[in-house]
């Protein structure tokens, strides 16, 4: 795993290092999405306040 732990894959927006400086802007313009439920990631998503 290069930028996320196995149990956290797909649970938050990741950007390649060269786009990190643009994170704030990108988070503003990208459409909001609800992430899927999974038993393994439920705890993580709860902590982050994402649906389910």
């Amino acid at each position: 795993m290069i930028d996320e732990k196995l149990e956290e894959l797909g649970t938050h927006l990741v950007l390649p290092p060269w786009l990190e400086p643009d994170r704030k802007y990108l988070e503003k313009v990208l459409p909001k999405v609800n992430l899927p439920f999974s038993s393994k990631t439920a705890k993580i998503t709860e902590e982050k306040g994402i649906r389910e």
Binding site: L9, G10, T11, V14, P16, L19, L30, V33, S38, K40
Partner: protein, 301 residues
Amino acid sequence: MKATVRKKSGDSSVNKGIFGIHHVTAITGDPQRNIEFYANNLGLRLVKLTVNQDDPTSYHLYYGDEAGRPGTILTFFNWPNIPKGQRGRSEVAAISFLIPENSIRYWIDRFKQKKIDFRGPYKRFEDEQVIAFNDPEGLELELAAHESSKKRDPNVWIGGPVPTEHAIRGFYSVTLSEGGYERTASVLIDELGFVSTQQDGSRFRYEIPREYAGGEEDIGGANIVDVLCLPYTQQAIIGIGSVHHVAYRTPSDKQQQTLRRSIVRAGLNATPVIDRFYFHSVYFQEPGGILFEIATNPPGL
């Protein structure tokens, strides 16, 4: 019943450093519906929520097995403002996921329950049963039940909504539709190391022989490309609900360079190596017009 021709893999086949499909990238206009369909209905894991590197204000979604291993990765560019794709030749006509042989009934019941239309199951070649269906935007998908699923248990996402015994085990194959098959076949065979194995009517099958699966680093599978020869079909238009490209996996940068040199020598235009962060990529158009990519297994997702 159409005649099926089974050819023996010639002894002359040489592995070119390709072990099968790495990922398939398609186009969605609606990321929320896309997530609901692939994660909640098909039970794939959303393994990466990132942006299109060439257009960072749009998402790039990755689905796959637990770890997003090569051979299981289906990705989507989110381009809501382009037209819907039109089926035809010179495109990927179907993406096929692998399921266990005894899982057909489970999936038919699941599709009925989820109100997903499907065709089949029908028999293809000697030993596979296929259910065909579409995603909400028309992308052509299949479930292929085949005994090779037994070797793909590591490709299950155990945290998903589908019971482990029936869950998708990565890709089985892709089907290309082409005006003619010979020149595409020569790229698959001479450049990528596929072997011609079977033919049924206008469907020509090419496979990376299983003995080439790359040990611990690569469990094999996702090693089939079917070419449908459809000379009287209109040219496809790529849009929402179409595949954008198919990537084949190679274990190292060195082998990717060797493949690239050979592809260029064959008269095809290949891009320089592009760093996609999760893999390194070389893109080229095969003679039928479909965009192919050579992607490295490392570093991974």
